[in-house]
Symmetry: D2
Subunit: 347 residues, 4 copies
């Protein structure tokens, strides 16, 4: 019998893609989607008119999330950190469902960082160590019994995949990890803001939250979790495109480290990772990953610098696809189930 899952917040961009992926997943049944904005509307019509399983569903109000959660095996929270930090503990306490949270609510460990970067006081310090940080290529499957998975941020996913193996292998210095990242507009979520209007975004590129973005501590903690503390500098930019994220990381090679050794390190690290492709150059492009759960990583290097470049689709590997990958691992399903057939649909 199929496992039963639900999505809270299914009308945003991440939630929509999540519903689309789950609609063709063979081992789980999507039994509810909530959305206050679209409450009562047919899910299929709004999200994916050709995916059969969605045609049976209507959006439920967010307020019924807890009740609905009581009847499923796993709940995805595609909600803001403020909502997740309140809702996840209640689902964990009052139902038997597992939770995969796509927000930042359970990704960090330090309460102070929540105040600085998320601007709220985190009420559940006790849950932070229990949350599994779900970046499978670096941290594997969640330990047995894990009920709360913090699905990584899009920038953090790409930054960590692009740099963590090189740091852990001791091939590069730890005193300076520079991450210059560029994301498509869906990264900002579905919003009615002049800043994200077509006329303002088109033909523009801007840096934002320079040295102050909330994924900075997440990247630093990710490196630490992976076994190597390092000083992280992170600067995001907003691209005039919808989907995709490119990370250009600048690292300092230790003396004597060759380009070949660096490449070999990446290849070893991802030899068994079904979604990571390592390429022998810096020619990495968003186009190669859009619409897929793939991450590409490539590099160039000389004696002074390592330039490691990674690309993901921010809504798939950077959000919904990785959430499904985490679900698969948590439920003992094949890691690629529901994700291997994603159509890239070139161009």
């Amino acid at each position: 019998m199929a496992l039963r899952v639900g999505i809270v917040g299914a009308s945003g961009y991440s939630g929509s893609v999540l519903a689309s992926i789950l609609a063709s997943h063979r081992a789980v049944e999507l039994v509810f989607c909530t959305s206050d904005k679209r409450g009562g509307e047919p899910v299929g019509e709004a999200l994916h008119p050709t995916a059969e399983p969605l045609q049976r569903l209507r959006f439920e109000p967010n307020a019924s999330a807890l009740t609905l959660a009581a009847h499923v095996d796993l709940v995805f929270l595609a909600t803001s950190a403020e909502v997740s930090v309140d809702l996840a503990p209640r689902i964990l306490a009052e139902t038997g469902a597992r939770v995969i949270d796509l927000s930042g609510a359970f990704r960090l460990r330090e309460l102070a960082e929540y105040e600085t970067f998320y601007r709220f006081a985190h009420p559940r310090a006790d849950l932070l160590p229990q949350a599994h940080y779900g970046l499978p290529e670096l941290f594997g499957a969640p330990p047995a019994g894990t009920r709360l998975i913090a699905n990584p941020g899009c920038y953090a996913t790409s930054a960590l995949l692009t740099t963590a193996p090189l740091l852990r292998a001791g091939l590069v210095e730890t005193d300076q990890v520079l991450i210059d990242a560029k994301s498509g507009v869906t990264g900002a979520g579905r919003q009615a803001k002049e800043d994200y209007s077509f006329c303002e975004v088109s033909e523009d590129l801007r840096a934002y939250k320079v040295l102050g973005h909330q994924h900075t501590p997440e990247i630093a903690l990710g490196l630490e979790r992976h076994g190597q503390r390092a000083k992280v500098t992170f600067v995001p930019h907003l691209l005039p495109l919808r989907r995709g994220l490119l990370t250009t990381a600048y690292l300092r090679p230790k003396a004597g480290v060759t380009r070949a050794a660096l490449l070999e390190c990446l290849r070893d690290a991802y030899a068994k990772a079904p979604f990571v492709r390592v390429v022998d150059s810096g020619r990495v492009a968003i186009k190669a990953v859009a619409g897929t759960n793939l991450a590409y990583v490539g590099l160039e290097a000389n004696t002074d610098v390592v330039v490691s470049i990674g690309a993901i689709d921010n809504l798939v590997k950077g959000a919904a696809g990785q959430a499904v990958q985490n679900m698969n691992l948590a439920l003992g399903l094949p890691e690629t189930e529901g994700l291997d057939g994603l159509l890239r649909f070139a161009p």
Copy 2:
């Protein structure tokens, strides 16, 4: 045992999407892809790195198409009309394979039209009546024994779906069918032309081939095949987007015909069509169909005019998706096989 199919010209946009769709089709096996441009390269790497069946293939040279065709049940020609007009007859004569031709080589009936609109002398007048014009919503499944299917053009598909039922039902006048159509740039194929460069296309809209486009006689013949001759005016425009095609058709209602009657006519016509959605307004958008084999049709009307608006993805319902739909019908498979799960992947 799975039916075996191949694609000639699989590195262009239509051929690429076709390969992606066939890669997840459960009833056929894609056994070859040809491309002179990418000869020898791995197909999966180029077209769709996560689709398992493509990882086994390398692009063969186009010159081997005839030889390869001898070992399959059906060949898709995603080639130019000039290539198809030569190759299709040879495949039909020298092998047992069926042919679905995505070019215009077998869509018309009048040799003079080939000279006027395609600028070549058609050498095989005898084959034109044998070719089945594959627009299933209007003309059904190919008759038993059909070996040559002319897959309709993208503009013609949308124009015919948007107008033909209203004409056949006698609800609108036949002396004036005005088709104002707008297509994304993939409609022009994969090309290295300054006219289709980013800098020229972006922030521009242009009309082209006004009153002289080769789909004009195809639309007129399509209406005639559907039972009602009419005078067709067709004006295409190039949109600054990649995929999608919107048709705004202007028709003259016969006296006393109501908006409700027109809408009812469309609903009846497509009641059993799995890929057509009829909406009760003119708010039809490319976004609703991009990445799917769907066609949307909606309308507004008053006593003077009927405005019937249709949207398709030019590479799916307008090319590769419809080709697979035709294959399904020709081979006795379910019409939606391989096409119902296409991920729209909003946004």
Copy 3:
């Protein structure tokens, strides 16, 4: 001594372009700009950091518009119809300034049309006949003493330039004027709406307000003012680009009317119009006019249909540029002053 002018509502798109144009106009001095949104901010910084005259100004609150108007020769209202319909009469009554209104508040004559299309009851029926409809290529300079100029809508400007001469010359039938128009997103104004967000607009084309757009009666009245009543059908579409508007008009030629005669008619009509270029084909593109006050018009025709195609920049000839053209004519300045040097800045 330079004539003094001011702009009410200078932070929207039309108002911004207007300020930019006026900043390099040699015969007028821009002495105030109002904007509630940007009240107190330096105008130059916001709108045009290299235009010297704007560096001296700060945005005033809209509430001071009437007071400021008392000290200038002419006021531009780049405000909504609701604001203009209230403010224009007060400026006319309480100051000596002329008013050029960029909204639709004074473009129509029938009160009922304001209720239907603008959704308000127009309080000043008396002013409607006094307002000069400022489309200089069709209606010339405002009569001496004109104090209120209704600056035409962008769609109406393009539709009228593309069709009116052919109708007045009796070359086409009047029972059917079909206008299929496509506009860039700036036509919707500066807005924080999800519908106009980058993610929703990019890669999409949609028809909207089909048969119900407020420019429909404006076009019909424009034709009537130009001497020939006709039945107008108007369908607008939203393009994924920022600036530019293309109109494809479908007309029915009278018996015996040749393509050459139609073209000659357009050439005669615009022989002395400094901003209109007539081309001998349907290859009309937005790119040719973006950033200029130009209108291009071209056509193709056969015995059944005339396809007349026109392009303008919706913010220049469709709004701010035409407003300056009207100002020049109203104040006795050369018609092209401030407008001939507009840099198109290809690409």
Copy 4:
């Protein structure tokens, strides 16, 4: 009497913008434009239909460049490095005209670098020291008698403006200057290449020529010319937009250097530079400079890193605008002549 100038290669993007700027320059007369591609065509029609001075010109063949140069005071070469390296010496030897070369042919000093980065053997080592590197904000007006000005590359212009003052002032370390740059597609010139087609560029971002771009030695030499050698790492990316270039530079602050001191340094350096705006944050956007000769520079810093961000329009400050600025300085005209009125035309 106006000084007379000409453009060789006026139909490319830089040459087109250059012609547009010169058309409204009050102190020079543009007397010829050459282009093999458009030989014989009217210049105004192709480049700028509303700029009066261009309406008198037709494109001459490139072969007549030397003959035409004999009758002007200054020639702009908007040609490839291969053409410039041959043509510039002949103009200097056989005519009295000055030359401003927009290519890279005379920007470097080391012959070996031409072989490595430009892939040709430079035949005129003797001219390299005579060429003035025309980045006025760092190197001032050309010395009296200068006849050859090497107009800087777009990436180098932005990288140097963003970093050079901080290096010269000794506020940052010299062992690591990391330049992550992103450019619009016009930076690649007017080209018919699939790589720059709309379908390939749209919705994509790619890194290219990682650690191997020809502007790398130009940036390093520029820093050296400005008084401070440093190790430069340069990685360019191709943006899905037409015009604009953003540089994100990562530098290491010396001990004790504060953010305020860094900002003060930039402000001092550009206090008298009419085209540079220093902002007190990292919120720098291409939108602020598109269509202008402005450069914006802003920064954020902590004890570990300085992030200095700069934006220019690659075709104006990065090419044609800077060429006019250099001409103004070389001919003793006001530095901003022809450049202060550039309309940004928001949006």
